[in-house]
Subunit: 188 residues, 2 copies
DNA sequence: TAGTCTTTTCTGAAATTACAGAAATTTTTG
DNA sequence: CAAAAATTTCTGTAATTTCAGAAAAGACTA
């Protein structure tokens, strides 16, 4: 596959940023290449285009698969496996957040629950309190995210665009309740 | 410093999760220890409690400092430096998001802007479109976050608790505008 | 300003991770 | 079922990262 200069830049960047994102160079570049390609690509093409060994590409694809970031496609009369990534950037984003949550947050939440349930030793009042605080914060954030996940993309975009202005709506929710209730009956 | 069993568990976990969070074991454990300690701790104490070399603790604290996650405190008649972390978990959380954004997202946003501005080569219609899409998504999300950052904690908590229900308010915003206008005239 | 206490930086060794090529395994097709 | 094609796993090496101890630098005091 032929890469233009801007594609090169994009792909290299994903390689370099890999370490900050917790993936390695190979994986980052493979993903970037697939993201930019309209057509599905087979492992050999990836290997040749990026100059990685065939085995490395295999490992990279396996890693991306574990992140649910690639899809395999088959063409008839060809037993090669062709890879793509989902086209919808919002879908990609949601997948990414979900996986990071699963890997980076859930284990901690689980540990915190265990620790909080264990019998309290003497002299650990403060530390227990802090563990509880961390637990509550994480639970609130993940709960919120899981709730928001159900909102369809278009509505989510509207909410994001509204941003903190949404708070003004919230402040008026009692009044709004009056209206909503008013239709049925009357005010509080 | 004496560690109870639950503190041990908590600290070890932060060490183990370190690699997933992009920090090393030492740094993770130092942070965890400071988080659980009500009193500021000096580097020697950290070193002794966790069993790391004094130099490693110094490096770790420097790393945490670069994340703006520690504070230094001095006591009179003692030239030792004592370390703490901010007590408010929300403040910690905001700092963490800000720093991660700075390290993991901003460079990519910058790369995308550059690439998008560069003259388009032939045959890269699709890839350019995808780069633009990624750029727009990231810009929208970071824009939203920066906007939300201004909202004070208590209000933010209310919004989080409201979760996707906030969308129902949004759907009624036109009605609400009527009320808001009405209120303005009647009072204040 | 010398002496002592404290922190930071340097250095090389140890551990971990990344990776190419080889070997093994699986899948497809005749 | 065997041959061929493709993928995955294994293995050794290279590169990177982590870390302890040594050396250097800085801060305070007598």
């Amino acid at each position: 596959m032929q890469l233009t200069e801007s594609m090169q830049t994009f792909i290299s960047h994903f390689g370099e940023m890999g370490s900050r994102w917790g993936i390695n160079r190979t994986v980052g570049q493979i993903y970037a290449l697939l993201y930019l390609s309209k057509e599905p690509i087979c492992a050999d093409d990836i290997s040749e285009t990026l100059g990685f060994s065939r085995s490395n590409v295999s490992m990279g694809l396996k890693e991306l698969d574990s992140w649910r970031l690639v899809r395999v496609k088959h063409f008839q009369k060809d037993r090669k496996e062709y890879y793509t990534v989902p086209e919808d950037v919002w879908e990609i984003f949601r997948t990414l957040v979900e996986e990071r949550k699963k890997r980076e947050i859930d284990p901690t939440l689980s540990m915190l629950r265990d620790v909080i349930l264990a019998p309290k030793a003497t002299g650990e009042d403060y530390s227990r309190e802090k563990m509880q605080e961390m637990h509550d914060l994480i639970e609130m954030l993940t709960g919120w995210y899981m709730d928001m996940q159900k909102v369809e993309t278009e509505r989510l975009v509207n909410l994001l665009k509204l941003g903190s202005k949404v708070y003004k709506l919230y402040e008026m929710k009692d009044k709004l309740a009056v209206i909503a209730g008013g239709k049925k009956k009357e005010k509080r």
